[in-house]
Symmetry: C2
Amino acid sequence: MEIKSENVVWHDGKVTKADREKLLKQKGVLVWFTGLPSSGKSTVSREVEKRLYEMGKLVYVLDGDNIRHGLNGNLGFSPEDRKENIRRIGEVAKLFTDAGIITLTAFISPYKADRDRVRKLLKDNEFIEVYVKCPVDICVKRDPKGMYKRALNGEIKEFTGISAPYEEPENPEIILETDKENVEKSAQKIIDYLKLHLII
Amino acid sequence: MEIKSENVVWHDGKVTKADREKLLKQKGVLVWFTGLPSSGKSTVSREVEKRLYEMGKLVYVLDGDNIRHGLNGNLGFSPEDRKENIRRIGEVAKLFTDAGIITLTAFISPYKADRDRVRKLLKDNEFIEVYVKCPVDICVKRDPKGMYKRALNGEIKEFTGISAPYEEPENPEIILETDKENVEKSAQKIIDYLKLHLII
């Protein structure tokens, strides 16, 4: 392949997803955690991240910390902005997955339609929806950041679980019941799923 | 670390960029190709991608093919949208770099202020600006997609190099002169830079 002034060879010789997966000895997939605030999405995803790393796997977590102040820093919480928030996260996660990375996302993502749109961006076996299920009264008791309290006091409008809806997944690949199982158990379920499906 | 109903341990135990770099035996950096349409950005970046892959390195190219129809599919070509286009690419590239990946971006990115904004998102040694320098008359002769022809005929408005400005980088880390050197030479310059700076 040689560039000459008037004869540019365009875009050939791309390294593929399969090539990168071979290099990394894993499959690139998107593990999409969804659930109420304080249901345990971030905590479980960080535990899964740690375990996969210790197994020599390349894993990356997209969550509010690295998305809300960066890529989606120009979005608010209107229905339109929430939809665009999830759309962008889905597109970025698709790129990460294409890079061969085991990509974990931890966002409330309350609307089924938004989640299903992300599912459709990916191939069938690349999208793993994890419903982090926990009764809202337990989430209210946890409330590590005091957000439920503020929502219940009316200081935060349209707070998922209190004053805005959460639409449960109908057919998630995995359900975690974080009021009944500890984080080790929840993380192990994810690892077992990845092994069973030959992702790791 | 254990979740109990009312006692969630929050966000601890993150795997760091340094951890991932150790796993991958490389540094996560952003190699930002900028230059006129048809200057050779994509061609050189794909050659660099191929070479790095053959060296066992994890590399990913962000370009119009995977960004314009996905993440930035809701943006046009107004000055405001062009700015937002580069902002989002910068934020995504920052995440890829944080993941430990050698990230290559191939976008015209004609405005100095937009590129400098991306530079500031990253640490000093993480952003490598590559000016793909080629005289516009040579780019017009290459014109593999017939875009210059359409721009010169007035069919495309605000086409960089013809009817919209391109602001040259003042202090790029690397300059490639694709009218004088072939793609192998250009790619080798990038590889040499990465080796010299202990990125690979």
